[in-house]
Structures are given as C-alpha cells and as structure tokens.
C-alpha cells in the first residue's frame, strides 16, 4: 500500500474526486498554479486545468460566497482557506447563508460545499497562524464539522465531505501534516511513513462522517480527543502506563455520542483534550453531553485539558499547547478518586 503524509493524502482525495466527478472544483488563495502554501493542491491545476483548480482573490468572504453560488448551480466546490485563522471574513456567508440555505428553502436549494482549513499551532505561527476555531462552527446548526488525525482518515473523510450534500467545514491540524506529533517538541520529528495510518490507498475510499474511532481500547479512563491531540493522548497513556481508552472524535457534527457514551460508561472516568481555548470550546459540549448521558456511571468529574484562555502566544506556544504534562496531570486527577 502506498504511504502518504497528510498533505499527500488530502491531495489524493481531491485528485480522486476531481477525476471522478466533473462537478468538483477546487478554489482558494494560491491553490492553483502554485499548489497551495502547504502544497495540498500541488499538481492538481496542471492535471485538471485552471478552470477546475482556481486561484482566488484574497477575500475569504468572496470565496465562500462564490462557492455557495457554484454549489447552487450544481458544482461541488472545495474551498481552501489558507489558515483557519483567516476564516472569519467568510463567517457571515458560512453561518447566515451556507449553513441555513437548505433549511430556509425547505430543501429546494442547497450548496454541497467543503471548506478546508489548516488549523492548530505548534509551528511557531503565533496567534494568527495557530488557531483552532472549530467551536464556533459546531454551534452553527446546518454545518458538519470534521477534523482528521492521520492521513488515512484525512483522505477518507475528505472524500466523504466532498460527496456530502451538506456543507462541511474540514479542519486540518497542520502540525501533523508531515508526521504524527505526540506533543513533545524536543523529540525528533517522525514521519507518517512509519505509522499504520500512513498507509493510504491511491484510489477512492471513504471514511464515513459521524463516526468516532476507538484508537486504543482501555479500561480505566476515557480520553476524548481529535486532531493532533490523538497523538498526544496515545503518547501520554503509553508513557504513563495508563490503561486509557482513547477515542478520536473525527467528526464533531454530527457527533457520535453513542461511541463516546459506551466508553465512558465502561471506564467511569473521562478526560477531554483539545488545542482550542477552553472556555466555551467544543470540549464544553463534550463534557456537558457526557455528564448528562453517563452521570450515573461517572466516578470523577469530567476534566477538560485545553489551550489556555489566551491567544496562542508565539514564544510560549508550548506553554499554551495542552501537551503530555497537562494531560497526565488530568488523568491522574481523573483516576484519583
């Protein structure tokens, strides 16, 4: 099986879909001739033409609006927002228009748009190249929200997203574009080639939206995570020899409550970890739902381990980043009582 990093896997997903479906188009800043600042669209314009892989003006609002129009006209656009931090100028079109179009027209109009956006920190990007804004999208009904944690899922989920008739906001944790990252910045970087999820079929396949994955079975505590944090969780459990069940949420909306619930009912303890700031982040929804669903099984409170409630500071990104140490402390606490 071919080995791909996450960039190649995402590229392959778009390649496969551009090839299968003439209605698929890719648009974004620098995505065409140049192949994207993270190289996710490399070679696609050469292969499919500049009318299907389109360089866009620097106007996220305009990009989102235009892909809505294209979607209404039967295309299946994949828009790249260069950094998730720059998605806000398009927020109105996403929230007021894209998310609600099907509802407000009782199904007569819809736009099958996928919005890709690299997110997360750990690349010395400072506060405007490190954000994880998923929480402000999960609150918007009508959007599906996805974040993969590895190349295999990235490709399969992106193909599902593109085929999906509902709009999907697809966050890509850029810290793990080139290799898994367990939260320790001092360790040498590892590549996806050595990781089982770095095996990615060249062809079409899907990973369904709306299904979490148990990436490690365990008995003592459930760690709910997604994106980069999946790797942080795995490393932390291993290093601290904790028999944790680790669940990769993968799709935040619709949320696979069933899988989460089953696990927390089994372990009776739960730690949620994400990179976004804590207050009102997606972890709050996870905690609120799980305490409601699993209350009588819980031995200790559900703990959230998150980015601090500050912007992502350039020089102190490893203090901000909810890494192994913070997770280990939380696990200890969760297992304490």
């Amino acid at each position: 099986m071919p080995r791909m990093n996450m960039i190649q896997a995402l590229n392959s997903a778009m390649d496969v879909m551009l090839g299968r479906d003439n209605d698929v188009v890719v648009i974004g800043e620098d995505v065409g001739y140049f192949g994207g600042v993270f190289r996710c669209t490399e070679g696609l314009q050469r292969k499919y033409g500049e009318h299907r892989v389109i360089d866009a003006p620097i106007a996220e609002g305009g990009i989102i609006a235009s892909v809505i129009g294209m979607g209404v006209h039967g295309l299946r656009p994949v828009a790249e927002i260069q950094f998730a931090d720059y998605i806000y100028p398009g927020y109105d079109q996403i929230v007021s228009e894209l998310a609600r179009l099907r509802y407000r027209t009782a199904g007569d109009f819809f736009a099958p748009v996928t919005i890709r956006a690299p997110c997360g920190g750990g690349i010395r990007g400072g506060q405007t190249h490190s954000q994880s804004p998923e929480g402000i999208f999960t609150h918007v009904c009508g959007l599906k929200v996805v974040m993969p944690s590895n190349p295999y899922d990235a490709k399969g989920l992106l193909i599902s997203a593109i085929e999906e008739d509902d709009p999907v906001v697809f966050f890509e944790p850029k810290r793990i574009y080139n290799g898994p990252f367990d939260g320790d910045p001092d360790k040498p970087a590892t590549a996806w080639s050595a990781h089982p999820k770095g095996e990615v079929p060249d062809d079409y396949y899907t990973v369904p939206l709306g299904r979490a994955e148990v990436v490690r079975e365990g008995e003592d505590v459930t760690i709910v995570c997604y994106g980069t944090m999946v790797h942080v969780a795995q490393a932390t459990a291993k290093i601290n020899a904790i028999d944790a069940e680790i669940i990769d949420v993968r799709t935040m909306v619709p949320l696979d409550v069933h899988t989460l619930k089953q696990s927390v009912e089994k372990t009776g303890r739960c730690v949620i970890i994400h990179e976004a700031t804590r207050f009102s982040g997606f972890g709050a929804e996870l905690a609120a739902t799980l305490q409601e669903e699993c209350f009588y099984h819980l031995e200790t409170p559900i703990i959230r381990v998150c980015g601090w409630d500050t912007p992502y500071p350039h020089a102190f990104e490893w203090e901000y980043f909810p890494g192994q140490k913070r997770l280990a402390a939380a696990l200890e606490q969760a297992l304490s009582a």
Partner: protein
C-alpha cells in the same frame, strides 16, 4: 454639542416639514445617452456610469438609441405585471394591517426595476433577488397564490413556515431564495455565473440589492470576483434613495453615482432611469447579451424612489417629507408606461381600468385560494415536526432526539 468637530455628516435634501428637493439627482434627457456595442471596452464607455439612460420623454414618447422597439404585446404584458405587482403589494400590505400576515415589504414606485429585468432575461437565467423584487416572481409567471401562501406560513408555504413573509424562492422558476441578510446574494450570483462559465452554459445570473446595501462587504466581493473571472452576471443596484431612515449619502452616494463604482473595477456600468420601463428593459438586454457573449459583467444602477415605508414596521414620516414621492422627478413607472401606450394609440383609460379590475380580481381570488391552504389562525397547518427537517439532508440523531422530546411534551 461638539462645535470643534470637522467630521462630515451627510444630510438628506429634505427632512419632515421641508419641501422635497431632488435637485441632486442628475438626469439626462431621454434619448440623449449613447448606446455602445456590447463588446465595447469599459474605458470607452465610462460616461454611462454617470449619465442616465432614458427612453421615455416627458411627452411619453420613446426615443434614442436605447429604444428597444418592442411590439405592442410586449408592452401590454409588462403593464399587466407592473399592475399585478402593485396591486399584489397593496393587498398584502392591507392584510398585514389587518393582522392576517405578520410582516410585509412593498415595492411601491420601483416595480419597473423588477418587471423589466424579468422580461428582458431568459427563463433559464438565474435571479438572485433582494426582498423588494417581488416583481421578478410575478413577471416570471409565478402564481400569486404561491407567494401568498409563503406570507401566510400556511400548509403550502414553500418555506414550510421557516421564514418571515416575503423571503420567497422558486427553484423551478430559477429564482434564488431571498435572504434576510443584506447583500449576501450579490457574490453568490457571481459564483453561480462562474459555474455557468465553467460548465460552458449560456445561462447568466442577475442579482439585486439596495443602494444602502452596497456598503456591505459582499458588494465588493461581487465586483472583485466578477471582474477577475469576467463572470456572466448582471449586478443591479436599486438606488431608491432610502435605506430605512438613512438616505443614499450614507452609502457614499453623496459624491458619486453607484454605477460609478463599476469602472474602477474594470466593470461596464450603466446608470438608468429605474422608472422608465423601456430604459430598464433595454439596458438589461444589453447587459445580458454582453454577458452571454462572453464580454463580462455589467453593473447597473437603477435610479428610483422607495415610495412606501421601508416595511410594515417602519414610519417614514419620522425622517422624510410625507409628500416626497410626489416631487420625485422620474415619476411613477406604471403611469409612464401607460401614458406611453396611450400616446402610441395602443391603450385607453377604459382598457386600463378594465385591466386594473381584472388584476384586482386575480389578486382577490388568489388570496381566497391561498386561505384555503390555511392561515395564521386557521388550518390546514404545516406539520410542526417538520421544523426538525432540512437542517441537514438527512436528519441526524440529535435532531431525532429533539423531535422525540417535542413529541413527548406535546403528548403530555
């Protein structure tokens, strides 16, 4: 009171109690503005953005290069739609006053803007209206009953009760959904047109917004994307002088026409008498042909006047002279087309009265029919559990659970 301030604050020409004053509206003579070839370069026709294309003169004759030379039939049909739009509006406004619908917005005085465009475009062209373009729906042949059912949120409401009155859409008729959020449709229309170009189709897109809404980001995005990709789209700014209580100066209209924004983006731009049916028709045709032949987008400013209140929630006598409309120099679009037909010898007061009566009956009958599909107080009603549908294509687990919860509560 700050006296040292040097901030410029735009002032309308008249406030309540003042004499209406429209000296600021620059008006060209009918027939005076040149009509360039549709493939002309933007640089060579910039004057169109400042002059005003007019066909009907004060004696109701049609003249000049923009005269579309329509057959009598093609004047009778629009007259009927103009009247239908106005009478429909009057009726719905009255129904709102009587508490039969919760809200309404008239297009009084600016009906030609919509009716002319609808008839100048092809049925396969996609229209992205604002909330004051009901004339597009009617002139495209939509059954008034459908629009009424939407306003009533009844069992035949195309929006299934999810939207306020007037937020129509018509998928089969190629009319996009009216958004409550101003201006959003403008760049969407450009995206639709881009898709049309990508697919190599003939259909073009057209969008409308008010002059006040040009201040929104979406206006800029539409113009930028339209010029960059030379999208086959017509972008219409309906300058009806008012945006709720603020006059067009608060959108930057004090210094320049709104059409004047276009050439700076490299977009062909035309300012037109929005109350002159023939002029709007001709300009729209020109722009449509330009777009369809691959010569790119056109920005059209339609100069008109919002004769009624902003909406049924508004009271314009608080901020402008009550009788401003009477002083409006471009008159009433319906009266002008009617007089033109009379001058042509193709129409009489008698036929007109008969038409008014016929259309009024149509509207009344439509209303009666619409009520048979339910009203705010009487059934048949929509199935309220459908409120959980169409958030997504397939209803997800959490919404099924919420629907169950609602069902459970209702059964108690």
């Amino acid at each position: 009171m700050v006296t040292k301030s040097r901030l410029h604050i735009p002032h309308p020409s008249a406030r309540p109690g003042d004499k209406p004053e429209f000296g600021y509206v620059e008006i060209s003579d009918a027939g005076a503005v040149k009509r360039p070839e549709i493939n002309s370069r933007v640089k060579d026709m910039e004057r169109l953005a400042h002059e005003m294309v007019r066909v009907l003169d004060d004696q109701h004759a049609a003249l000049g290069p923009w005269h579309p030379h329509l057959e009598p039939h093609d004047l009778h049909v629009p007259l009927r739609y103009l009247l239908l739009t106005r009478i429909f509006d009057e009726h719905m406004q009255r129904m709102q006053r009587q508490g039969k619908i919760s809200f309404y917005m008239q297009s009084l005085g600016e009906e030609a803007v919509s009716v002319a465009a609808a008839l100048a475009l092809q049925p396969s062209d996609m229209l992205f209206p604002s909330y004051r373009n009901q004339g597009l729906q009617l002139a495209r042949g939509r059954n008034p009953v459908d629009l009424m059912c939407q306003c009533l949120s009844n069992s035949k409401d195309m929006c299934k009760g999810r939207q306020m009155p007037i937020m129509y859409h018509w998928a089969r008729g190629n009319i996009f959904s009216v958004s409550g959020n101003l201006a959003t449709q403008f760049p969407q229309a450009v995206g639709w047109a881009m898709a049309s170009a990508i697919k190599g189709e003939d259909a073009i897109a057209a969008a409308w917004l008010g002059e006040g809404s040009t201040a929104e980001a979406d206006f800029h995005h539409a113009l930028t994307f339209a010029t960059v990709y030379q999208a086959p789209v017509i972008l219409n700014v309906v300058n009806n002088q008012w945006a709720i209580s603020t006059f067009q100066g608060f959108a930057g209209g004090e210094r320049r026409s709104f059409a004047a924004r276009g050439p700076g983006y490299g977009i062909a731009s035309i300012r037109v008498d929005g109350n002159d049916y023939l002029a709007v028709f001709a300009v729209t045709r020109w722009a449509a042909e330009r777009a369809r032949k691959g010569h790119g987008p056109t920005l059209i400013e339609l100069v008109t006047y919002r004769a009624g209140a902003h909406s049924t929630s508004d009271d314009p006598s608080r901020y402008r002279p009550r009788d401003e409309w009477q002083a409006w120099p471009l008159g009433d679009p319906i009266e002008r087309l009617k007089q033109h037909l009379i001058v042509l010898g193709d129409w009489t007061e008698g036929r007109h009265d008969k038409l008014v009566a016929e259309v009024t009956r149509l509207v009344d009958d439509s209303w009666q029919e619409a009520l048979t599909y339910g009203s705010m107080t009487e059934g048949p009603f929509l199935n309220k559990y459908e409120l959980f549908e169409d958030v997504f294509k397939d209803i997800p687990a959490h919404l099924i659970a919420q629907r169950e919860e609602q069902l459970g509560l209702d059964e108690d």
